[in-house]
Amino acid sequence: MTSEAANAPAPEPTDPLLSVRGLEVHFPIRSGIVFERQVGAVRAVDGVDLDIPRGATVGLVGESGCGKSTLGRAILRLVEPTGGRVSFDGVDLRPLEGEELRRMRRQMQMVFQDPMASLDPRQNVQSVLTEPLRAHGIGGDHKARVRELLGLVGLPASAASRYPHEFSGGQRQRIGIARAIALEPQLIVADEPVSALDVSIQAQVVNLLEELQDRLGLTYLVIAHDLAVVRHIADVVAVMYLGTLVEQAPSDDLYARPLHPYTRALMSAVPIPDPVVEDTRERILLSGDLPSPANPPSGCRFHTRCPFRQPTRCDDERPVLRTVAGHPQAHRVACHWAEDIEAGRIQPVASAVVEPDAPAA
């Protein structure tokens, strides 16, 4: 279940398809009945740097409310960023307006979490799949194109005349994927593409996404909270916490040697399908909930819940993503104490660790 061949044509680090720098999405909090004034801001995305190499799959993980969906939408300009830069294939997306932006959308598509909600209940599949073609004035035989698209996602041609409510969840997601590839985009942002589906269907859809990537040369940003799904599909994984990235690394390296305390806690929650290893697995529990993004903690965002928290730096100095000796250049982490934690010089507080010899059996 490792992602090997996917990055066969070694992507040049100098030429990422998508490059995000210092991206911010702050939603204003307004107050007042007659005259509204801004009393604060929800910092849903607060300074994210992310590169997505051409043809690669970048996984974005984090718990609910950490801003990962907002980040995905801000990249596509479905949510207006309040700061930072997004450049796609060398084109800066932020200043694009109106018709220019609309034409640019052809290159970047989205797959949604809830396939039912993302399909207009009054549109049959034929209409769903030809809408993007009509919107961009693409001529040709639309009927044939719909058949082709349905074939690509593994649906029969007879599906064209049916309506979303006549399909199962997995089939609907296939329709959503067919719609996303109708314009032959370069980038697809998949926002929790399988989390609304039955577990038995998830693998099929994940495999379909991978298959389409090989056939069409797609680049993916896959947003998920399921670490197993991300591990399976992603070449590079970015871990998000409270609006910022805390760690970013090639998938295998991240899963083998996570550096950030948050990533370690996430990884320690994943069961290992090997009873011997599973029995000796040490788990790190996080206390408390995600702090409010309207009033994020100072310094390191994670310090309020971090089992490795140190008395200095953590609460007043905001860490930036940096490389750590002994790890590949692409493995970057935003923790002041990453080396010490990895070397075992800093131990987690005892209350956060669940020893393996306290089994639930």
Binding site: Q109, R122, N124, Q126, H165, L183
Partner: protein, 304 residues
């Protein structure tokens, strides 16, 4: 025909095709619903009566066949000759109720349509653009809502003079905010939905999103509201006529005015209040029954 026109034509064709299929489903459910059928039959009955009034009515509405039978103490009630009895001027009550259907239905339909057109225009503006446009439009609507309907209608009638036209305009204006708010709320809810986001990410133009996705998915409650508004419009028209704001022409019977005219004889000739009152209630009931069931038939939540 330019290329874009052809595109637009095929686009609307496909949207229509999609909507047509769903409409057929709704229609099938509606046809099996006894309440809807009764409602529809009542409406059809009144429409037929209104259309065929001159043929159905035994007398002209302004003829006075029973002039000699009227005395200050005796207004004859229903008889074989005059099924609904005679009114205070010796006119055949049945003929007047039949002819009155024309006025009531006309007022109901026209005022509903005017109100709906006005309301939909404001609602689409607010729902499609949001933001400042929404705020401005909805404040106007709030102002309209803040004036009591009857007061507004009286003011309009006073301004335009008592006539059928002013009654229709008054009822239309009272109904504008209802439609505007309803549509705007529906559209706002749809605007945030995933499929609208999907359409945006596909690069579909705003006009197409509004008219191809948001509006068709918001319109069902409006159709239902229109049916229900017909019922209230008939009642409101009767109320305004009752207050003397309707047509002043005594030769043109109108249910509300007929009720008003019989006030003084309520004790001695209750049939004069009964029949027009019954007509108003039954006509309104027909529209309400159909409207309520239409709501259920169209609502996707009831779809199996």
């Amino acid at each position: 025909m330019s290329l874009s026109e052809i595109e637009a034509a095929t686009e609307s064709e496909q949207v229509e095709q999609a909507a047509g299929n769903l409409r057929r489903e709704a229609w099938r459910r509606l046809r099996r619903d006894p309440v809807a059928i009764v409602g529809f039959c009542l409406i059809a009955f009144f429409v037929l009566v209104a259309l065929l009034a001159p043929l159905l009515a035994p007398y002209a509405p302004d003829a006075q066949p029973g002039r000699g039978m009227i005395t200050p103490t005796n207004i004859p009630g229903p008889s074989a000759q005059h099924w609904f009895g005679l009114d205070a001027s010796g006119r055949d009550e049945l003929s007047r109720v039949i002819h009155g259907a024309r006025q009531s239905l006309l007022v109901g339909v026209v005022s509903m349509l005017l109100g709906m057109i006005g309301g939909l225009t404001l609602g689409v503006l607010a729902g499609a653009f949001g933001g400042t446009v929404d705020s401005v439009v909805m404040r106007i609507v709030d102002v309209m809502l803040s004036i009591p309907g009857l007061l507004m209608a009286i003011a309009i009638a006073a301004l335009l003079g008592a006539s059928l036209t002013s009654v229709m305009i008054a009822i239309a204006i009272v109904n504008v905010p209802v439609f505007a708010r309803l549509l705007r709320g529906q559209m706002l809810a749809q605007r945030g939905s995933d499929y609208v986001l999907a359409a945006r990410s596909l690069g579909v133009r705003r006009r197409s999103i509004v008219f191809g996705h948001i509006l068709p998915n918001s319109i069902s409650p409006v159709i239902v509201q229109a049916t229900l508004t017909l019922a209230t419009a008939i009642i409101e028209a009767a109320a305004l006529s009752f207050l003397g704001l309707g047509s002043a022409d005594p030769r043109v019977p109108e249910w509300g005015r007929m009720l008003a005219d019989t006030q003084r004889y309520l004790a001695s000739a209750p049939h004069l209040a009964l029949f027009p009152g019954l007509a108003i209630v039954v006509a309104a009931l027909g529209f309400t029954m159909l409207g309520e069931r239409l709501r259920e038939a169209i609502d996707p939540k009831y779809r199996r």
